[in-house]
């Protein structure tokens, strides 16, 4: 007979070995370098496939002589290997060059608009948690019934629907047809002006609005975030829902839950007390993968709702064929994804030492 104590022993984590965590972190950290290096190289080469960036951005706008002069000044008429070496050197110094269309340092663009994207990603994660986890628990609790089927279909629809399509539908319904939610922007004009006048802005509007001390500004910022956050968050919510449901059902079949069930613990309590926490552990890992999804999804969501973050700027620079800016932004996104995955790996290792082996 398996007792509750035996069942607990089954899920008890393996005791960490001395130095194992640090070795794991070091290996993961070292692996980031070639990953980023390969990414930078691939992006650099892809951006050169269509020729030099000056011609891409300004070809047809400048007379041939001026174009040639600009190409020469920027050094794009030199051997590719020389350009590559200089670019890599610049990246290591934190210098991604200047955009071609408006001459601004790419780093400034990254810093200026990165906070907006971060804010949107956080809102989307809140939506994903708020929808995905409770609904996943509900689906597990009502497994194999119509509620479970309906939620599973909704989850599939959620992550199978293209983000831009979902964004457009939300915008058409709630902004155009019903007129109840704003179609674009991160805040109303007057709120943005007020935030602009704030000393030491963080660029995260919700924080800035709270610092401003005006309830209407906070409300305005949150109100503008509803549709973009839903458009971006529903995809991840669908994934969370499926993951939580599967893990909770899996845990419900484990020995210690069977034992608890035998002791007369009700199904609702089993789900919400015994199966709930272990089922959340894999979500930590999935969040790492979702960061990449959220950042790539941000390009479409930010463009649809004119949420002026990195994704929006990437789309604008792509339209302008400003490949220096595009290159810098893509490399930055790649680095963020690599670093985030590193952090998630470390957190996962802290939660569950078995991942270190």
């Amino acid at each position: 007979m398996v007792t509750a104590v035996d069942a607990a022993a089954v899920v008890k984590p393996v005791a960490p070995q001395r130095g194992g965590l640090w070795r794991y972190i070091l290996i993961r950290l070292v692996l980031i370098i070639p990953t980023v290096f390969i990414l930078v190289t691939v992006v650099f080469l892809l951006m050169r496939v269509t020729g030099d960036p000056i011609t891409a951005a300004l070809g047809g706008k400048l007379p041939p002589a001026q174009l040639a002069e600009r190409i020469h000044e920027a050094g794009y008429d030199r051997p590719l290997i020389v350009q590559y070496a200089e670019y890599i050197g610049g990246v290591f110094r934190g210098d991604f060059g200047n955009t071609i269309t408006d001459g601004r340092p790419v780093v400034t663009i990254l810093l200026q608009y990165g906070s907006a994207t971060l804010e949107l990603a956080l809102y989307a994660l809140i939506v994903a948690f708020a929808l995905g986890i409770p609904l996943g628990l509900l689906a597990a609790y009502r497994r194999d019934r119509w509620q479970d089927a309906a939620l599973r279909i909704a989850a599939i629809l959620g992550y199978a629907t293209p983000i831009f399509f979902l964004g457009m539908v939300l915008k058409l319904v709630f902004s155009v047809a019903l007129g109840v939610l704003p179609a674009s922007g991160r805040a109303g004009t007057r709120t943005e002006l007020a935030l602009q006048s704030l000393d030491g802005q963080t660029g995260i509007y919700l924080i800035d609005a709270i610092r401003l001390g005006r309830a209407d500004a906070v409300g305005d910022v949150l109100w503008h975030a509803v549709l973009p956050a839903l458009a971006l968050g529903i995809l991840t919510a669908g994934i969370f829902l499926r993951l939580v449901r599967t893990n909770v059902i899996g845990t419900l079949g484990s020995q210690y839950v069977t034992s608890a069930r035998a002791r007369g613990v009700g199904e609702y309590r089993l789900v919400t007390k015994h199966a709930y926490r272990p089922a959340l552990i894999p979500i930590v890992t999935v969040i790492g993968l979702q960061i990449a999804v959220l950042l790539s999804g941000a390009v479409l969501t930010e463009t649809t709702f004119e949420w002026k973050g990195i994704g929006f700027m990437l789309s604008e620079y792509l339209k302008a064929r400003d490949f220096v800016a595009v290159q810098g932004i893509v490399v930055m996104i790649a680095v963020v994804v690599a670093v985030t995955n590193f952090i998630v790996d470390v957190v996962a290792a802290l939660i569950d030492p078995r991942v270190r082996y």
């Binding site: 939610l181 674009s184 004009t189 002006l193 209407d216 906070v218 409300g219 305005d220």
Partner: protein, 543 residues
């Protein structure tokens, strides 16, 4: 109570509190969609646009979005009054040719920038000298090609020495993107000054100063009490300009009352839709943009470099095309009236504009005429159908170019005189190909540098014109040179009219459409002036 319970309880309370706060705050914000407007004379206005700024340093940009800012904040020696394309002294007291190659300007007394610095002739000299010295490829220094030097003999006198005498476009050039006067104590003499430095230096002397600036997102303007120019003081308390990437969002916001004015660039269907909305007013005026087809005289059918070269047949092909084009249909069906038919080379609204193509081609009243087209080809002995290879571009002149050229193809093929092979090329390649004789006939568009007929004639029909289409008519070229230095206004206008008449007979290009400036304003907003200056000024706007 277990740890899990405690955590879940806290999370639940936090989520509930957050949700409650969000709902309460959202309610406080009135739904987030509405915008309260402040008080004050003429009110606070919000203008929306899809234009983009590159730099607000006049030496570093030459585009609509950047010039729209410069127009509000920098002083000009000459400018056009509201409602006209013709220019008069602005911060200048007077300006005239004191010799054929010397244009002397006298400044008004006591001019200052908003930062308190004196605005003297030294600043004027500095402004033009730096344009020539920096000569940024993205800047407008090419407009100053006739400027030899600038002198400032005293604080209020400026003498421009020109290479070619009696330049009748000079006053217009002083009002153009090359003409803003900047503060020599803030701007760099030999490099571009950053937008942040300009704003921080409050280096403005126009009708407005910039109160806050976030490029291509939000700019707020306040009236400049130190402006002493001819345009007068602003009739509003402030203007905030919001920048949009998508015209449909601009439309939604102006229709919903979130912004007071939408200027540039709503789509034709959006304007058509908004014109039926009682909450807004559609204001229009002549636009400086023209759309046209260029003929390459070497490579078009029967062109000089083709095996069947025949100038008479080549002209007949062009004439027959002109007979068949239905500009009214293009205007209404494709552009919903946001472009109007263009029957000349100089758009309506500018001094000297005529409509010679209306009389010469089609039914004589602007409509197409198939019989006339047939007759033109028959008279020249051209066998039909003639194959036309017509090129257009889909990514530079707006998304409706495809519809426009599909309609042109359909019009030209109606009656069986022409078979049109329509092809599209991306702009980067297009711009290279068109000057390399690749396209026998092709689409182009033009925005003026300044509001003068000359800007629609010299670049197109002079010997070394930018079209590089091998058109060469010595009589036209002599007249172009003559009008540029003709000091008698009536005689100059006569020259301009004669040029249009001659070119209409030669058909070096085929004008199709003239842009219309369209602004959509809230029903309580007045003062939107769209005129032949093609400058949209915020100062007369008020509620």
């Amino acid at each position: 109570m277990s740890l899990v319970h405690i955590r879940r309880g806290r999370v639940g309370i936090a989520v509930a509190a957050l949700a409650g706060t969000a709902v309460m705050l959202a309610a406080c914000s009135g739904g987030g969609g509405g915008e309260s407007t402040g008080g004050g004379a003429g009110g606070d206005l919000i203008v929306g646009t899809t234009d983009k700024i590159t730099f607000i340093d006049p030496a570093g940009s030459y585009d609509n979005g950047s010039f729209a800012v410069m127009n509000q904040v920098y002083p000009f020696l000459f400018n056009s009054q509201y409602g006209t394309a013709d220019v008069t002294p602005d911060i200048a007291e007077s300006g005239e040719f004191t010799s054929p190659t010397e244009f002397t300007v006298t400044l008004k007394d006591g001019l200052t920038f908003a930062n308190g610095h004196k605005l003297t002739s030294s600043d004027v000299k500095f402004s033009f000298d730096r344009q020539l010295k920096i000569a940024d490829p993205n800047g407008p220094s090419s407009l100053l090609g006739n400027l030899a030097s600038v002198e400032a003999p005293d604080d209020t006198t400026v003498v421009f020495t020109l290479k070619n005498g009696n330049d009748q476009t000079w006053e217009q050039i002083l009002s153009s993107p090359a003409g803003p006067i900047v503060d020599e104590e803030v701007f760099s003499a030999d490099s571009l000054t950053s937008d942040d430095d300009i704003v921080a230096g409050n280096a403005f002397g126009g009708q407005y100063v910039i109160d806050s600036y976030k490029i291509n997102e939000l700019i707020s303007y306040k009236p400049n009490p130190d402006y002493k120019g001819a345009l007068g003081a602003a009739e509003n308390s402030s203007v905030t300009v919001k920048y949009y990437a998508d015209a449909s969002n601009l439309k939604l916001d102006v229709a919903g009352g979130n912004i007071d004015v939408a200027f540039r660039s709503l789509s034709a269907t959006d304007v058509d839709d908004l014109s039926k909305n009682d909450a807004v007013k559609v204001v229009d005026g002549p636009g400086g943009e023209i759309r046209y087809i260029v003929f390459n005289f070497d490579t078009m059918p029967f062109g000089a470099a083709t095996p069947e070269a025949d100038p008479a047949k080549s002209l007949a092909v062009r004439q027959a095309m002109a007979d068949l084009i239905d500009r009214q249909a293009l205007s209404e069906d494709v552009y919903k009236g946001t472009y109007t038919p263009l029957y000349s080379y100089v758009p309506q609204g500018l001094t000297g504009a005529t409509e010679p193509l209306k009389d010469l081609y089609g039914d004589g009243a602007g409509a197409p005429d198939l019989d006339k087209a047939k007759a033109a080809l028959e008279a020249a002995g051209v066998s039909t159908p003639v194959t036309l290879n017509l090129q257009y571009n889909g990514d530079h002149y707006g998304p409706s170019s495809g519809d426009e050229y599909a309609a042109v193809k359909s019009q030209l093929e109606e009656g069986g005189l022409f078979t049109v092979n329509l092809a599209q090329t991306e702009w980067v390649q297009y711009a290279k190909d068109r000057t390399a004789d690749v396209y026998p006939m092709y689409q182009l568009g033009w925005f003026p540098d300044y509001s003068d007929a000359d800007n629609y004639l010299t670049p197109f029909f002079s010997a070394d014109n930018f079209l590089v289409n091998h058109y060469d008519n010595s009589e036209v070229q002599e007249l172009i040179t003559a009008q540029a230095s003709e000091t008698d206004a009536a005689a100059r206008q006569s020259d301009i009219e004669k040029i249009q008449e001659l070119v209409a007979k030669d058909l070096s290009t085929l004008p199709l459409l003239q842009g219309t400036q369209v602004a959509v304003v809230g029903k309580d907003v007045d003062g939107a002036v769209l005129d032949g200056s093609f400058k949209f000024r915020y100062a007369p706007l008020h509620k």
